[in-house]
């Protein structure tokens, strides 16, 4: 009897992520949601630029690789072309909250019927650990070697808090994958974000607090602890907006 198996929506390609990186967990949660909803055959994923750029190799559904920050616009075109398809983006913090801010905000404002998986690990991973729009005040990175000084480079962007004021956004939740309880909550949120799209309820975004042991310069275990002690207090978990019931009515 099989009690634990790889979701069908994940390919057999070995992930390129660093040891201890939480992208693997998040990929699995997305794939489980796709499997459980039985939507793989009509799902199209939009990969972004950053560590998750090669997401297109890891999901079994059709995939499109977007330019940096443009995934929500690509998803918009894809969804409008084939509304029966389920379209999701998978983006990091640099992609979604810096270079792609306009695409993110306007996809939400339009109430675009897409699902956005936003992985926030407070750093640019792929390029080797530069300051991200979500890097914490005081956080040391390659481009904030003396710590993020809010007096000169400003404050982190809180995406869920920012988007919740937009009437077009249906469902916004911030989750984390630093412990079992949070992983289970993350799964629920991600599945709901896909379900919303299946029901045609509009724009759903799940922000996942994630880790980057390599560029944070920590062991995987310490990184999980750092996320809990530093990121989650700054980025409180929870539902920021849920118009699902209104939208269903």
């Amino acid at each position: 009897m099989v009690v634990f198996d790889k979701p069908h929506a994940l390919t057999d390609v070995p992930l390129h992520y660093c040891p201890g990186c939480t992208h693997g967990i998040i990929h699995r949660l997305v794939a489980e949601a796709i499997d459980e909803l039985g939507i793989e055959g009509r799902t199209v994923g939009i990969a972004s630029v950053g560590c998750s750029v090669m997401t297109y190799n890891y999901f079994n559904c059709d995939m499109i690789q977007a330019a940096h920050g443009r995934a929500p616009a690509v998803a918009t075109g894809c969804k409008r072309a084939r509304p029966e398809n389920i379209v999701f983006t998978y983006q990091g913090d640099g992609d979604l909250a810096a270079i792609g801010t306009a695409e993110t905000v306007h996809a939400a404002a339009r109430g675009e019927n897409i699902t956005v998986i936003f992985v926030n690990n407070a750093i640019y991973g792929m390029t080797g650990g530069q300051m991200a729009p979500t890097s914490l005040p005081g956080q040391v990175t390659q481009t904030s070697p003396y710590g993020r000084d809010v007096k000169t480079v400003g404050y982190p962007v809180k995406v869920c808090e920012m988007l919740k004021e937009l009437d077009g956004a249906t469902y916004l939740e911030r989750v984390a994958v630093n412990n079992v309880r949070n992983v289970r909550n993350a799964k629920k949120a991600i599945k709901k974000a896909f379900e919303n799209q299946v029901k045609g309820l509009g724009f759903s975004l799940i922000e996942v607090i994630s880790t980057c042991p390599t560029n944070w310069g920590m062991t995987p275990e310490k990184a999980l602890k750092w996320a809990e002690e530093n990121m989650i207090p700054y980025y409180p978990l929870g539902v920021y907006k849920d118009k699902t019931k209104e939208a269903e009515a």
Binding site: E40, D62, I64, A81, V105
Partner: protein, 353 residues
């Protein structure tokens, strides 16, 4: 059954696009092409299509990428500064081999420039515009009729070769009204087995992608793409020749400049100068063969352009500088008069041995 109606050039593009099966338009307002968006905004909802005004040109071209990836006929339109913004997307479309139509109703530049007609995006259009090695199929209409017929042609070529096709028009072509015969929608649907349209669990997943981190593989992709481009050069080059059989002076001009130049060629003939004209209809691929052939019997070339001399470089390349090439130009929204072109023809004719 074809009907003849009086239309603005911009509207002719929009109607022609709809008639050949385009049901998705993404754009952002900019003068002098906004009639295309306005037309699409009115028509698309009535025929089950999508008109979407994006938050920027950058977003619009990426929406085009999404729809093209999904395998549908899709277009956007803009004018010069907006095309600069779209250029990132154009490079990705080339890297992903995505078919779509992009319309550039050019205005004067650089920068914000002006809103009057120009041809100063010739380099940007024919050399690609964005980063990397690539080309688009570039079509240059010289009448409202061609605004319509070349739109249909552009979609067919884009689908056939999995390339982005561009209509390179200008403010006069977009704004002027002429009778146009619109072909009844003859959509030749083309299979797109490569599209990201959903696996339906019946095939391996399709990936639309321009990333290739292994140098040997990326090199292969580039070589293969340029082999395809060679096929396009060999088979799809379009041009019109006018009084070229015995021409001593060969005028080369496209779009509005070609209409003006035709009058000048007629006037030159009346004045006893054997002038002729080659009008490139595809700017890429550039009609190099007729220009090369003309070099055998013409004394000189005269490139008439609404820019500081861009196409003239292709004239020189095609003719291998076998004959001198001169420039007759107005810029910034100004249009050369037939008299100006005639004066230049006379000047060259008198000066060249």
């Amino acid at each position: 059954m074809a009907e003849k109606v009086l239309m603005k050039g911009n509207e002719a593009i929009a109607e022609a696009a709809i008639r050949c099966g385009c049901r998705h338009y993404f754009g952002y307002p900019i003068t002098p092409q906004t009639e295309i968006a306005a037309y699409m905004a009115k028509r698309m909802p009535k025929i089950g299509g999508t008109f979407l005004q994006a938050e920027s040109e950058v977003a619009a071209i990426n929406m085009v990428i999404g729809a093209a990836s999904a395998g549908v006929r899709v277009m956007t339109s803009s004018s010069s500064p907006g095309i600069s913004l779209k250029s990132e997307g154009l490079s990705y479309m080339a890297g992903c081999d995505l078919p779509a139509l992009v319309v550039n109703v050019q205005r004067g530049g650089p920068g914000l420039g002006g809103i009057q007609p120009s041809q100063s995006d010739y380099f940007q259009a024919t050399r690609g515009g964005g980063h990397g090695d690539y080309h688009m199929i570039v079509l240059a209409p010289a009448s409202v009729q061609e605004m319509a017929s070349l739109t249909a042609k552009a979609f067919d070529l884009a689908d056939k070769y999995r390339m982005t096709a561009m209509i390179l028009a200008d403010g006069t072509m977009g704004q002027m009204m002429e009778p146009v015969e619109l072909a009844e929608g003859e959509v030749r649907p083309i299979e797109k087995p490569w599209a990201a349209s959903g696996t339906q669990m019946t095939r391996p997943h399709n990936i639309i992608n321009s990333l290739s981190l292994v140098p040997e593989e990326l090199e292969k992709l580039n070589f293969a793409r340029y082999e395809k481009y060679q096929t396009v050069i060999d088979n799809e080059t379009l041009y019109e020749e006018y009084m070229m059989d015995d021409a001593d002076i060969c005028v080369v001009a496209f779009g509005i400049a070609a209409r003006v130049s035709k009058n000048a060629v007629i006037a030159a003939r009346e004045a006893g100068i054997r002038a002729g004209m080659i009008r490139p209809i595809t700017l890429w691929p550039f009609p190099a063969a007729p220009v090369r052939a003309a070099a055998a019997h013409c004394r000189a070339f005269l490139s008439v352009e609404l820019n500081m001399g861009q196409m003239i470089e292709d004239v020189r390349l095609a003719s291998e500088c076998a004959r001198p090439a001169y420039l007759c130009n107005r810029v910034g929204g100004m249009i050369p008069s037939p008299e100006l072109v005639l004066a230049k023809i006379k000047e060259i004719y008198g000066g060249v041995k």
